[in-house]
Symmetry: C2
Subunit: 236 residues, 2 copies
DNA sequence: GGTGTTGGTGGACACCTGTCCACCAACTGT
DNA sequence: ACAGTTGGTGGACAGGTGTCCACCAACACC
């Protein structure tokens, strides 16, 4: 920010060039986000965006080379906050069971706080520009891998196959994506949000119970009916 | 079909008017399906469809009142075959565990046999025309309800809460939708299909194990570690 | 055999689309 | 103080869009 002083000694903030560029860049991103709310990025009109922002259509190219470029920026934005928050949550909780509740709550909070970004992700995740779709899948895969790593740290996990780790982590990611979608498509009432939170938590708990049972099976087929303790997964 | 006989006594099939109408209707549906393969229905150009079919743009309105109308017809088409097939599978299998394998195989087969329809569903399920989205959700909800009913028929299910029935059925539907999407986005190789089949089957088995454990909990909290027999869910 | 119905035509309408271009004013680094 | 850089302008381009309209040929029915 560049300061200049007028005659009456009042400092006036004059935005520097890079600041102004960043500002219209933001405006473009925001406009794109609101305009794609009802359709998809591939159907986004560049002129529409320009009109919304208040610039000439061609000025768009000073910031993004294409709609796909814009989309990738939006993907990055959308995930960065969620990724950070969830990582914090998982780092703070020692057990897998303990991490479920807070994780779902974080997800619901983030989606509520920023529906446009998550709506964008949910829409572009399937069908849209291939590059954007790929970027989103990469983020979700990363997320899945982190969950699998968490699982691998569980006591007794050394004997679980890598495949099954990924498979169960995948289902968890799927359930969370589905929860976000339900949240976005349903009414924004607190009651509905609470219901989605409850349902999703239940689903993840069921799942982790099943996963733990499942994996003890291959090396203990036909053994006694006695199963591993599952306290980890029920402590909220 | 109206038959006419030429001089040399060869019967020639002359399509009646309604048959011809039905034929171009089909052509429109097919064209719309291939044209939306890369984008969404809301971005579908009516003129493009007409060109593909080989009719004048305005002739479209003789068959559908709008793009949404077309979309609803496609939703109906897409689900009708799957719904029928899955219902047969579930009717033929007495146990929930036994139904998982065949169900997943049916799903994979149907998706492979008709990727255009399922791609359409997967894309329009989120973001697109609201009416179409609602129709798809209705179909999935119906499917979820049927699964919940199956669960309710399990021995010992009388004590399970309706909510938990729906919650677990919901996750099953979610996992199957996700499987279809993975199948559609990944390579069409048989190896990949087998892997998706295996992964999804595992997920559904884990899930049903977890669900069974879960529900026995509320009325038996703090009991022995002994759990219900789960043979149902492991017999393929 | 005549008549109403109907699937399809083709032109015209007003408007919207992405991208190219020359141009400009003002901020920046020296 | 000056020259270069840069964010933004506005017109023009070739084309694409949905929808309206009058019109037609052929099928269906009585």
């Amino acid at each position: 920010m560049r300061m200049i002083w007028l005659m009456d000694d009042q400092p006036v903030a004059l935005p520097t060039r890079t600041e102004r560029k960043e500002r219209t860049r933001r405006a473009i991103l925001d406009a794109a986000l609101t305009l794609t709310e009802q359709s998809s990025l591939s159907a986004l009109s560049l002129r529409h965006v320009a009109r919304e922002v208040g610039i000439a259509p061609t000025a768009f190219y000073r910031h993004f080379t294409s709609a796909e470029d814009l989309g990738l920026a939006l993907v990055d934005e959308s995930f960065s906050s969620l990724r950070r928050t969830l990582r914090d949550v998982r780092a703070a909780q020692p057990s897998v069971g303990g991490v479920i509740g807070p994780s779902v709550e974080v997800l619901v909070d983030r989606v509520r706080a920023d529906p446009e970004h998550f709506g964008f992700i949910s829409r572009e995740r399937v069908g849209g520009l291939p590059g954007v779709r790929a970027a989103i899948r990469r983020e979700l895969d990363l997320f899945e891998a982190e969950i699998a790593t968490d699982f691998a740290r569980l006591p007794g996990a050394v004997h679980w196959s890598t495949d099954d780790l990924r498979t169960s982590a995948n289902l968890i990611v799927i359930a969370m994506v589905a929860a976000a979608e339900r949240l976005l498509q349903g009414p924004g009432t607190p009651a509905f949000e609470r219901e989605v939170t409850r349902t999703t938590t239940t689903q993840l708990r069921m799942l982790s119970i099943g996963a733990i049972q499942w994996r003890s099976r291959p090396q203990d087929r036909g053994g006694s009916g006695r199963l591993r303790a599952t306290d980890d997964t029920t402590t909220s």
